[in-house]
């Protein structure tokens, strides 16, 4: 059984104009010891998915319409706030996008590092402090013991994200959710943080979910990748498979928008942009949500009329489209061009 099983998760936000279908029927599972990457553009529901799992969304305006979140055989969506508090940080930890604001400026790094342990584990202050120093060493911060007494303003952005990671790991959680862990960081620091995450995931025997809009990040860090679009998962496959044999036109277009420096078929010339913009999630298209931007839609089939289902095209490779690359008719491709 998978460590985390999310099924048919729907999270809506009530607004004056109506419900925003931020997450609309998302299902996935994360196995022990594996890393799932969730990619998608801004507003596609990546972060809301993560926050729904943690139960960290303000309700209202957020509302969980349906869905089950089974973590280690335990249903999280029915737990009380009190019970959830015991899960957070202990079983599932989370790190956020902006390390510059995720640390409290008025508390020392040591205080913030020991906070989680003192909250969840039965340890003395001294033991927690000792462990905190070890954790700082584990995330490669030099002079760890002395730097415990520093305030966050003495740490650089990359170091703060390392501290956030150390905090997340302090109770040996089973699952780590990293919400855009490298977005706010310098490119040179990004790779270091990703390597560190991977190293620690192995050491601590955790599962991990990495949420990002950066294809490069998932390529480096994830074992499996789920591509989200307009609140739904449109394609899910092992990382290699997704990059080398994408099926969904959206994934295809995303990869086509990436600059390529090497490889067999190096593309030359301009990068291709995806025309149009993501649909309004208050009133999403009835049929395929990508249809308005899809070059293959409406060419003599059903996908503009009824929504395509998520289909398993190859073992482990799922896509939600009427026109997967592998089934595409040459004639249609020609017309689309």
């Amino acid at each position: 059984m998978a460590l985390l099983d999310v099924e048919d998760l729907r999270t809506y936000f009530g607004t004056r104009r109506g419900d925003v279908h931020a997450v609309d029927g998302v299902s996935f599972s994360v196995e022990k010891g594996r890393t799932l990457g969730i990619v998608g553009e801004s507003g596609c529901g990546k972060s809301v998915t993560a926050l729904s799992i943690m139960g960290l969304l303000p309700m209202p305006p957020a509302r969980r319409v349906s869905g089950t979140i089974r973590f280690d055989g335990r249903e999280l969506s029915t737990l009380s706030e009190r019970e959830l508090e015991d899960v957070r940080g202990r079983q599932i930890a989370m790190i956020f996008q902006d390390p510059m604001t995720s640390l409290n400026p008025t508390l020392t790094i040591g205080t913030q590092l020991t906070e989680t342990m003192l909250r969840h584990l039965d340890v003395s202050k001294d033991a927690a402090r000792k462990r905190a120093a070890e954790l700082l060493e584990e995330v490669h911060i030099p002079n760890a013991r002395q730097r415990l007494d520093d305030y966050p303003h003495r740490y650089s952005g990359g170091m703060r994200q390392r501290v956030m990671i150390a905090i997340a790991l302090s109770c040996n959680p089973r699952l780590l959710i990293a919400d855009e862990p490298t977005t706010a960081l310098d490119v040179t620091v990004q790779a270091g943080i990703l390597d560190l995450l991977d190293e620690l995931r192995e050491q601590h025997d955790m599962a991990m979910i990495i949420i990002t809009h950066d294809m490069g990040v998932v390529a480096e860090a994830a074992d499996d990748i789920a591509v989200m679009y307009a609140g739904q998962i449109v394609e899910q496959a092992p990382a290699e498979e997704l990059f080398y044999r994408p099926e969904h036109p959206y994934t295809e277009a995303l990869l086509g928008a990436l600059p390529q420096l090497e490889g067999e078929n190096v593309r030359e010339g301009r990068l291709t942009a995806i025309p149009g913009r993501p649909p309004d999630l208050v009133d999403p298209p009835e049929a395929c949500r990508f249809a308005p931007r899809c070059p293959y839609a409406g060419l003599g089939d059903y996908c503009t009329v009824e929504p395509p289902e998520l289909r398993e095209l190859r073992p482990g490779h799922w896509a939600r489209t009427a026109h997967p690359v592998s089934e595409r008719d040459e004639a249609i491709v020609e017309t689309a061009r």
């Binding site: 960290l56 956020f96 604001t101 008025t106 906070e115 989680t116 303003h153 003495r154």
Partner: protein, 316 residues
């Protein structure tokens, strides 16, 4: 390339020495950096602020004067001796004497004890009530926040001094503690409001979400993560409210509603001098200067403390 193995060795040793030295230097630099904690930083920055430092010295001098003089001054502050009445300031009586021949040097010190004491006790009560009310209102939010703020709006309509006078009348007696209550009861509203606003903006911070993500309960988030971040504001308000309470006390005493004679506060001392301000101006001037001295130094100290204590303004 052929090299002499001896030369090689010498060079290697030199490199090792060099890197060791660099290591040591880096370590020492690190140690030097480490020694500046938040409080050390604060003290350093406060000392760099000349106006605040001068105000602090002035404040301490005033406090010392009030504390020490009654013990060392040879004159009984309450002894009536009409032969000594209306003596102008001299080496015998630094501040002169009043209509009953009482030494004003020691009476001003005793009055200061009461004025400053009421000031601090009142400010403490204001901060306590204001912070509790404001932080709960802001933190919980929703209908509770709405209700608490509307109640505050209604209370805001209460005029400060008349309300203090009515409160004193209800108590029937005027002593230190009834004065504190009367001066506090209608003056914590602004503090509560400002703290509420601060908490509301602070609770949207990422570190609050991060704290929730590690399973922190609401009380920890409020008391450990949010309230310390209002510290700068609280300190500013302490030193803003302090003069307000001292002034309020002085005003009530000046109206004759304050501390009962023969006890004195700066307000009642000024009141004593009011009737003879043309013939014996020093009697009203001295306590007034003391009040102004306290208020000005409190303002400048507040300013300096705010700059010094806020870790967000700390330079690295």
């Amino acid at each position: 390339m052929a090299t002499n193995p001896q030369e090689e060795e010498v060079r290697e040793a030199a490199i090792t020495r060099e890197s060791e030295a660099a290591e040591r230097m880096r370590y020492e630099a690190g140690a030097a950096v480490r020694q500046t904690s938040l409080w050390r930083d604060a003290v350093r920055r406060f000392s760099a602020n000349k106006a605040a430092l001068a105000a602090m010295v002035a404040f301490v001098l005033l406090a010392l004067y009030c504390l020490i003089v009654p013990f060392v001054d040879p004159y009984d502050p309450n002894a009536v001796d009409f032969s000594q009445a209306y003596l102008t300031p001299s080496v015998h009586h630094f501040f002169g004497t009043d209509q009953f021949g009482r030494d004003l040097f020691v009476r001003t010190a005793l009055g200061g004890r009461i004025s400053i004491g009421i000031g601090f006790a009142g400010t403490f009560a204001i901060m306590l009530i204001g912070i509790l009310y404001g932080s709960i209102s802001g933190f919980v939010g929703g209908w509770l926040d709405n209700g608490m703020m509307r109640l505050l709006d209604a209370l805001y309509g209460l005029p400060y001094l008349p309300f203090a006078i009515i409160t004193l009348a209800i108590f029937g007696t005027v002593n230190f503690w009834t004065m504190v209550i009367a001066l506090t009861i209608a003056s914590w509203f602004t503090t509560a409001r400002v703290i509420r606003g601060q908490i509301i903006s602070l609770k949207e911070n990422d570190y609050v979400r991060a704290a929730r993500a590690i399973g922190a309960r609401w009380n920890r988030i409020l008391f450990r993560h949010l309230l310390p971040n209002t510290l700068g504001l609280v300190i500013v308000f302490v030193f803003l409210e302090l003069p307000g309470v001292v002034l309020g006390e002085a005003f009530l005493s000046f109206l004759g509603l304050g501390i009962n004679p023969p006890q004195a506060s700066w307000g009642s001392l000024a009141q004593d001098g009011y009737s003879q301000y043309l013939s014996h101006p020093y009697i009203i001037v001295i306590p007034s200067v003391a009040i102004a001295w306290l208020i000005l130094s409190a303002f400048f100290v507040a300013d300096g403390l705010r700059d010094a204590l806020d870790p967000r303004t700390a330079e690295v």
